[in-house]
Symmetry: C2
Subunit: 261 residues, 2 copies
DNA sequence: TTGACGAACTCCTCTAGAGGAGTCATGAAT
DNA sequence: ATTCATGACTCCTCTAGAGGAGTTCGTCAA
């Protein structure tokens, strides 16, 4: 439909035609003329409107897709991407007081927000840690660690993958090395084992997802991920767990509260 | 150069040719066969090697560029992207004890790491806040705020843009509304004005940059940004400042330390 | 009413060209 | 020694096609 008022090309501009076209559509999205979920005019319509070759149109659409503004659906059309409801992860989500109810942080949060949480593809292995993990745990890289990998879903939609690394010396033979780590999760188990947790350090990076991550999290093109690595320290200063999680950046906002001390 | 050992296409695969080619090159990068800064074989070489049309090669290279793995330089070639030195931002960087030396956080940190810090395009305006900012500051959206925009650079490379919003009622006529806010920055000024800072709340998002941000931060394609919004609260519970900053995600790692309480 | 079929529409992949423009090394002219 | 032109090489933009495959929807037969 020619309902969408797109400007004409500026032949005097030295900006490439496909960029100009991308600019027009981006403008329409940013100004709200095209709202979330709306269909962008088809390649054929845009060819017609601008009088250029199909490839030129496709290049323009490619730009927008790379910016995460649109998604193409084979056979249906190109649509303005809609953003899922955002989960806000508070910095105190692993505080002891939240653990005492006996629910894992993810389950409690999600149910609180009215979603149906589930956990997926739990895999427990015992491995030699990467140099990075070994250093964070303060162990030699030939010492073994127990790895707990899992994927979190809300209403069946994957939102996060996580892998915890606990020195095998601590975890072996305990419920931490079982698929179901019991009420309160592994932090509760660690405290029962006598490691009173003192503080966490979280390291946050953002980057484009790897191929596996795109698959595991069903990510749309142009969506970066948060890569968060949390290290848990016991009161004796010893690191007892490192947990690496990858989250879709458009499903999450991370919240931290800090003293001004 | 045929030095780079690339596999042949798998004609039985239903994976598109350009994706297979992208996979091969991505593998080479991930396995370290192609290191940072290395030149990817030219379009002509890849055409030759795979026996496909130029556009097919360009599509493959486009994929990698979108993933932030490579950058093309017109007339020179395509190169594996090299990552700038990473700045680690500690969560306590705005704590009072760091402020007492009289240096702004950014300057002190950068000099400590041996870089030459500078600040750029400082603009001070008085405006009506967006609904979001007004809500965070707990003021009506018709109340004015003083906006301090600036851009931070290290060795001339832009790394971060920031805009602070302070209720005009507080900032007007003070040094906060001057380009040079004086020793210790605006947090020091706020405390001198009697607003003893109690805590900060930081909200972190990650997304692809807008066009302006690409320009302002000289971002390579395929690099997401952190969008961090910090709200400063005084001891009386009042929000006295909101600061929004946009940072290149491959120049920063954010660090937070949290009590396990 | 239901279900199978097909036409029309969508985006996806790929080909084979063309001219343009930036970079760099070489070699000639100064 | 320096400057400058040249040509080879690079990626960039755009054209004009072709066949493929997924989606939607109306038609027609059961």
């Amino acid at each position: 439909m020619a309902e969408l008022p797109l400007p004409d090309l500026d032949p005097t501009s030295d900006r490439a035609v496909f960029r100009q076209i991308a600019d027009h559509i981006r403008d329409a999205i940013e100004r709200g003329v095209l709202a979330e979920g709306d269909k962008v005019p088809s390649e054929a319509q845009l060819m017609q409107h601008y009088g250029v070759a199909r490839m030129t149109i496709r290049n323009a659409l490619q730009v927008l897709q790379g910016e995460g503004l649109t998604v193409a659906e084979h056979g249906r059309g190109v649509f303005v991407r809609s953003h899922p409801p955002v989960r806000r992860l508070a910095s105190d989500r692993f505080a002891r007081r939240h653990r005492e109810q006996g629910k894992a942080a993810f389950i409690a949060e999600t149910e609180g927000a009215g979603g149906k949480p589930s956990v997926d593809s739990i895999k427990i292995t015992e491995e030699r840690p990467s140099a990075d993990i070994a250093e964070k745990l303060g162990i030699a890289s030939k010492d073994l660690v127990v790895c707990r990998s899992r994927r979190y879903l809300i209403n069946g939609q994957p939102v996060e993958t996580a892998t915890s690394y606990i020195p095998a010396e601590i975890a072996r033979g305990t419920r931490i090395a079982e698929p179901d780590s019991g009420p309160g999760g592994i932090y509760a188990r660690l405290e029962e084992l006598g490691f009173r947790l003192d503080h966490f350090v979280e390291e946050i990076r953002s980057r484009m997802p790897l191929r596996d991550e795109v698959r595991a999290l069903k990510l749309a093109p142009g969506v970066p991920v948060f890569h968060l690595v949390r290290t848990a320290y016991a009161t004796d200063g010893r690191a007892v767990e490192v947990c690496g999680t990858v989250m879709s950046s458009d499903a999450y906002v991370l919240l931290y509260e800090l003293p001004a001390r």
